[in-house]
């Protein structure tokens, strides 16, 4: 009989009609599905993409016994990168520092640019003093015979540089792009046997690179970025554990900028939530309990931060501080206080809305009774209203916190996006995206999603059951 706030009376059940319910479920369920898919997509991306690593392959780890390194060992070296090599004969390793052929050897240090100079042992003009180490050749048997090397990758990579060792004629490089266009590139004519060419490639996504040697030659090194990393033995045995230990989230967490941005986010959001409550409790109470001149106007003004485009909020804050004393402006704009101020400017409006709704649900009679029972105005508020408003305060605080966490537009304009200074998590996502690190951006987004879900769960458990945004 006593209608108390928060008491959830069971709503009457309405007889369901299959067709009717199904139509409504499809219409509304699509959106729910979209939300779930968004989250699942992020998670799937994180599990699938362990980040991009830069790989530099030289064939030096295979030892320097020239000519004796066979195909099988070469493939074993390439296999962790998800790549393989084939040639018109049998790919072999040639040790340039210890050449046994009559023509080849390590080129001279003067080979600064591509394709100039003559190297090689025996007949070479210059001394063999540039250490190229091992070189992969299509076939070692006849060093002037034409041949090719063909590299294939299981997953697309971006090859950015090749170090080619060639004879006199230019070497052709063919990169088969993922978009089925072929990128052709040719080295300059070699100055003689054993010339070195450093080739820079545009780094298109590819899964196949072919190198044609018109009169013999080989590959001294290759650089590419690939969607993976080398795994230790234990990781190959326990792939799940390995994914838990090494994933973009852990990687992001280990960066000092991200650690700073997490710390700043946690602190600024908490301060924002406290300030918002500090304002929202009295303001919400006044709006809920009293009618006064200009109440409608104040109510409308409180909607402004909610409906205003976020960038405009930031810009307005920036403009406002142009009128402030220089010392104050310098202390706030583009500094940490600006982060908090920008967050409060928006989050507080939500907190006020919720607190007003929370106070609306508290029977004013409870306070009246408290007044007759010997309480003053303030003590009736603190002893009767506040305890009843506690779930509402929790809801308002957590939602203000979550709003502050997602705040971006005003922050970018008013506080800037300086690493290790005013960088919060939403800024981090933006910064990582702008340098093209998608998986780091998703990883930080994921950290924010987890934080937001925690807040949501907290609110659902301890917050008011009857108000939500």
């Amino acid at each position: 009989m006593v209608s108390l706030p928060d008491s959830t009376s069971p709503s009457p059940r309405i007889r369901s009609d299959g067709m009717f319910i199904a139509t409504f479920s499809v219409l509304g369920g699509t959106y729910v599905l979209l939300i779930i898919l968004l989250l699942v997509g992020d998670l799937a991306y994180l599990l699938r993409a362990p980040g991009t690593t830069e790989a530099v392959i030289t064939f030096d780890p295979l030892g320097n016994t020239s000519g004796s390194v066979e195909d099988e060992q070469i493939q074993r070296q390439l296999q962790p990168y998800g790549m393989s090599v084939e040639s018109d004969a049998t790919p072999r390793i040639f040790d340039s520092s210890n050449p046994k052929n009559k023509l080849w050897g390590s080129p001279h240090i003067d080979f600064g640019g591509p394709g100039t100079g003559v190297g090689g042992k025996g007949t070479g003009t210059y001394a063999n003093d540039k250490q190229l180490g091992n070189i992969l050749t299509p076939d070692l048997i006849d060093d002037s015979k034409p041949g090719f090397l063909r590299f294939r990758w299981e997953q697309p990579v971006a090859v950015t540089a090749l170090q080619i060792f060639a004879n006199t004629d230019p070497v052709d490089i063919r990169v088969l792009n993922q978009d089925h266009l072929t990128h052709q590139q040719r080295t300059a004519s070699g100055g003689g046997p054993g010339s070195v060419h450093k080739i820079t490639l545009p780094g298109h996504e590819t899964d196949q690179v072919e190198i044609f040697f018109p009169e013999g030659g080989g590959l001294a090194g290759m650089r590419f970025s690939w969607p993976g990393r080398l795994r230790a033995d234990w990781e190959l045995r326990h792939p799940l554990l390995s994914n838990l230990v090494y994933n973009p989230v852990v990687e992001a967490l280990s960066k000092p900028e991200i650690q700073y941005s997490i710390a700043l986010s946690l602190i600024s959001c908490t301060v924002t939530a406290i300030i918002s409550l500090w304002i929202a409790v009295p303001l919400g109470y006044l709006l809920s309990r009293y009618s006064f001149f200009g109440k409608g106007l104040i109510d409308a003004i409180l909607d402004i931060p909610i409906i205003l485009p976020p960038l405009v909020v930031g810009l307005s804050l920036l403009i406002l501080f142009q009128f402030m004393p220089v010392a104050l402006r310098n202390a706030v704009v583009y500094q940490i206080p600006a982060v908090i101020l920008a967050q409060v400017a928006v989050a507080c409006a939500f907190a006020v809305r919720i607190m007003k709704a929370a106070f609306d649900q508290i029977d004013p009679r409870c306070e009246q009774v408290a007044l007759t029972l010997g309480c003053g105005r303030a003590s009736a508020f603190s002893r009767v209203v506040l305890p009843e408003a506690l779930p509402g305060m929790l809801t308002a605080g957590t939602l203000a916190w979550a709003r502050a966490l997602g705040e971006f537009g005003p922050l970018l304009i008013f506080a800037g996006a300086t690493r290790l200074k005013t960088e919060v998590l939403s800024t981090s996502v933006f910064l990582e995206l702008s340098v093209g690190d998608l998986s780091a951006a998703v990883a930080i987004s994921f950290i924010m999603i987890i934080a937001a879900i925690l807040v949501l769960v907290l609110t659902r458990i301890w917050g008011t059951k009857t108000i939500s945004l």
């Binding site: 009989m1 006593v2 029977d363 009679r365 009246q368 029972l373 002893r383």
Partner: protein
């Protein structure tokens, strides 16, 4: 004694003009009236919760017109009890004593006294949510009586109770009035409340308050309750 001397109340669009009433010391006053005549407003004015624009309110021998609610020495039970949802029964009974800074020993003594009088001994630790309607009303009553008020204001305390509970409450209210030196003003629109409880019966209508003299109470009640339609009509 409760005396209202020619008071006027303006609350929003509602207006109550030049109303006077008198409930003698330790009488059980019942104020009846149709919905919307301002019974609750009048009670709130006596409690000091809304200001009056004219006249004076005298409780006992004190003119409390300008007093704050806390200073009027009243107990107030609003329409639906208005219990504090976050407190248990014991907290309710202790509330006014704690608010007035009584010693813990005194408070405990008073809680024991009240809970045995109101039959709440076994419920002291219980929360408010799962009390029955009658129990809630007894808690609200206990909360109002805890600090020994000289005046008790009841706003439709029995309106939502079932027949059996209502009869038990009649008995309880009678006992309260008999054992405690308190003057009661009970607002209701149930004729039965008046029949079982009233020492002084007052009727509020748009024209003012008239006291129904004890010799014509029965006739007035019969007139007020009207005759129910006969079955089959």
């Amino acid at each position: 004694m409760i005396t209202l001397d020619n008071i006027s109340i303006t609350a929003g669009t509602f207006q109550l003009d030049h109303v006077s009433l008198k409930v003698p010391h330790r009488h059980y006053g019942i104020l009846m009236g149709a919905t919307g005549t301002g019974k609750t407003t009048l009670l709130e004015a006596i409690a000091g919760l809304i200001p009056i624009t004219n006249g004076s309110i005298i409780l006992g021998t004190r003119d409390v017109t300008s007093f704050k609610p806390a200073e009027r020495n009243i107990g107030y039970v609003p329409q639906d009890g208005a219990l504090f949802s976050k407190m248990n029964v014991r907290d309710h009974l202790a509330f006014s004593l704690v608010a007035r800074g009584e010693a813990p020993v005194m408070i405990k003594e008073r809680i024991d006294e009240l809970s045995s009088m109101l039959g709440l001994c076994d419920h002291l630790h219980r929360g408010i949510r799962n009390l029955s309607g009658g129990e809630k009303q007894r808690v609200a009553l206990g909360r109002a009586l805890a600090s020994h008020p000289a005046t008790l204001l009841l706003d439709e305390p029995l309106s939502a109770l079932d027949e059996k509970t209502r009869n038990q409450m009649y008995q309880l209210l009678r006992n309260v009035q008999k054992n405690i030196p308190v003057t009661i003003l009970h607002v209701t629109h149930h004729v039965a409340d008046a029949r079982f409880l009233a020492d002084t019966l007052l009727h509020l209508s748009p024209t003012g308050i008239e006291e129904i003299k004890s010799d014509c109470v029965s006739a007035w009640m019969d007139k007020e309750s009207g005759a129910p339609p006969k079955r089959g009509d």
